[in-house]
């Protein structure tokens, strides 16, 4: 610790160089945070969803498959199940454009029991339940389009051949790492429109019923306890195994991971790019450190002449490298975290991501990486410095 002042002085000796090294480290780490958070926050969000004990039922064949609506009631009555609601993707257009928010048809009575971290004022909930064309939207969606309770929200069908004329009855509140741009509305409203429209749209199996109606889409199920989730998944799939529409039931966590898996090779590509950035940082920081040590050859020799041991010189140089890289890393990672916390970045992502933030553990990983970069980049210059003989060092003219 007593050498701290000396290390600081050394780092400040060539402020331009140190500044540039800090800046390039900071920028690279900033970028790395953006790339890594992309995956880690989704992972964190889906892991956090564990506490809600939810399972999600979909057709074994995928999103486009069908689950007859009658099953929602059957599933709700199963052992271990607290509540169930259809959760049917409408995917309509808003203001003639592809809408940049999710729209789901659900059961108004049970949806806020299923999604129990989503809070809605009791009077708004009552109003929503009471009106057939009512809708509840997220706070960010309300802000984006300047919508408030009582406004109408017309949606045009894209997947479905029917348009919705929704009226906003409430604005929910939910934790920041959930989708705050959803629009929820009555399943019955959509289904009735489909019954009278008579066309199938882009849907699978109309199943003899009036075209397109009767499909629950996905079913969100709230289980009574954490222990029940696995059993419920099994029970649901067993029940419908040999029917015309077998199901694939998984916990919400696994469901979230499925989306992450859908990134496929893109994920690997981004990790590779992250790796390339770290390696290039090693070159850049190592180069800067080597340059500053070359300038200080005489000085290092003097240090050794007055009795500094090899290992002490090694330590001094390494400490300086770690300090500079760590400073850059701290600026980059914490700056990125601060920026993403302060500014709602997801707004500029064109609906691609419902939320965006840098999780703490990702920021810590970034800091760790910068310290590692400092250590490794300082290694070669430090070893050279500690090994130069006093005589050679003093003789050298830089």
């Amino acid at each position: 610790m007593k050498y701290l002042t000396y290390i600081f002085r050394n780092a400040r000796r060539n402020p331009v160089r140190t500044g540039l090294t800090v800046a390039s480290t900071a920028i690279c780490l900033f970028l790395m945070m953006i790339l890594l958070s992309f995956f880690s926050m989704n992972e964190e969000a889906s892991q956090n969803s564990k506490v809600y004990n939810r399972v999600i039922v979909m057709n074994a064949n995928g999103f486009a498959g069908m689950i007859p609506i009658a099953r929602v009631r059957q599933i709700a009555g199963m052992e271990g199940v607290a509540a169930a609601s259809p959760f049917s993707w409408y995917g309509g257009k808003y203001q003639n454009e592809r809408a940049l928010f999710a729209q789901f048809a659900c059961n108004a009575d049970s949806i806020f029991n299923v999604l129990d971290e989503f809070k809605l004022a009791p009077d708004q909930l009552a109003a929503f339940v009471a009106s057939k064309d009512g809708a509840v939207i997220g706070p960010k969606l309300a802000r984006d389009y300047n919508l408030k309770v009582g406004d109408s929200l017309p949606l045009q069908g894209d997947i479905y051949p029917v348009d919705l004329k929704l009226v906003i009855k409430g604005i929910y509140d939910s934790p920041s790492n959930t989708d705050q741009r959803m629009c929820l509305f009555h399943y019955e409203y959509l289904d009735d429109l489909l019954k009278t429209s008579g066309t199938a749209g882009g849907l699978s199996n109309p199943n003899g019923t009036t075209a397109g109606s009767g499909n629950a889409g996905m079913v969100f199920v709230k289980c009574k306890s954490a222990d029940a989730t696995t059993a419920v998944c099994k029970r649901v799939d067993e029940e419908y195994k040999s029917t015309e529409f077998p199901t694939r039931t998984q916990t919400e966590e696994a469901f979230g991971q499925m989306f992450s898996e859908m990134m496929g090779d893109l994920k690997d590509t981004i990790y590779w790019i992250g790796g390339a950035v770290v390696i290039s940082l090693l070159f850049v920081a190592g180069n800067a450190m080597a340059m500053s040590m070359r300038e200080r050859t005489t000085e290092v020799a003097v240090l050794k002449a007055i009795g500094f041991s090899k290992s002490k010189v090694l330590f001094l140089v390494l400490a300086e490298a770690v300090l500079v890289a760590g400073l850059g890393g701290a600026i980059g990672t914490l700056g990125c975290k601060g920026l993403c916390d302060a500014v709602d970045v997801s707004r500029f992502m064109g609906g691609f991501l419902p939320f965006y933030y840098v999780p703490w553990n990702t920021a810590l990983i970034g800091l760790g990486v910068s310290l590692f970069v400092g250590l490794v980049s300082g290694l070669a210059p430090a070893v050279i410095a500690s090994n130069t003989s006093v005589v050679d060092g003093l003789r050298k003219v830089v």
């Binding site: 690279c28 064949n61 066309t199 199938a200 893109l266 590509t269 590779w272 190592g286 180069n287």
Partner: protein, 391 residues
Amino acid sequence: MIPFKYNVRNLRVRWKTTLMTVLGTALLVASSCILFGLVEGLEHSLKISGDPLDLIVLRKGATAETTGGFESKKADELLTLGGILHDAEGPIAAKELLNIAIAERNRSDDQRPSFNNLIIRGVQPASRKLRPNFKIIAGRDIEAGKGECIVSPGIARLYKGGQVGGQLVFGEKEKYRVVGVFTAGGSAAESEVWADLKDVERNTGREASVSCVQIRAAGPAEFDALRKEIDEGAQFRLAAIPEAEYFRKQSESSLFLKGAGTLIAVLLTFGAMFAAANTMFSAVKSRTREIGTMRALGFSRGDVLFSFLGESILLSLLGGLLGLLATIPMSLISIETSNFATFASVTINFRFGPWVMAVALIMTLVMGLFGGMLPALRAVKLEVISALREL
């Protein structure tokens, strides 16, 4: 002018520093190029459309084939319209039915099974003529009604049972035996599984509907007439969209990737710029006496400025070139991810085209120019006498 050779020699003399800087910037340039290569690959696959006379017919209001279904009866009528190009086998028009279903990936390295959604396209014989350069490159084409399918090379490689002779399984009822591998000039079809329309209809229970009808008009006049008739005719009320326009709309989904790629490239450029500046600052510092000498010999301030800027640009060009070279093997690789508009798998071939070149060039020029500017200005500002006196 200070001879350029002087700068080249300088880079060679301090080869360790040069190498480090070049490697560092090369990796950053390569990273950006890889990202842009992906964006370009995605855009390319969406832009390739068969023929300017091709039309895609969807339900009015639908924006994509995957969501735009309508009744099969109407589709049959469409096929009989006048103005459609004919050849020996009949009209060049096809009903197609798309289904998106989960398939398991081939992953030996991972214990956990991994899944993605694939587009299964039920096609008619004419569908092949409507795609650019449709070719069977392994095995054979499908025979109708036998539950067979053909796949793109990417899917053959990545999915369980995707190889010729294997079986792709999508749930209990939807299974197709793979009999061949096809390419279609790098178009979006290369992310799909193709099966016979009848088989897909039966397996998905959607005999009564189609997703889209693809039509090639006989000529420009017929193209307009067909469009008008389908769009406005009382019996259809469908949307006939020129294929080029349809794919241009679809490629809007790559805008996000493009934006993200640009942001990343800009950040990396700054990172590399600082690295170049660092190197050049130290070059100027260690050559203070040389600069003084050159000025004393009669080289002007401008000469010195250009010399150092040139050296900086040369340094970053070397990095850019190396970075660009490093991306060449990438053009042989295709990656698989999902199109988050349809939630279905897309196979993207990395493309090493003008965009990627432009990015590399711009990055290196910006790096060299701005990274070298401050050090060069410092060199210019040196007083001749004090510079000569410098140790």
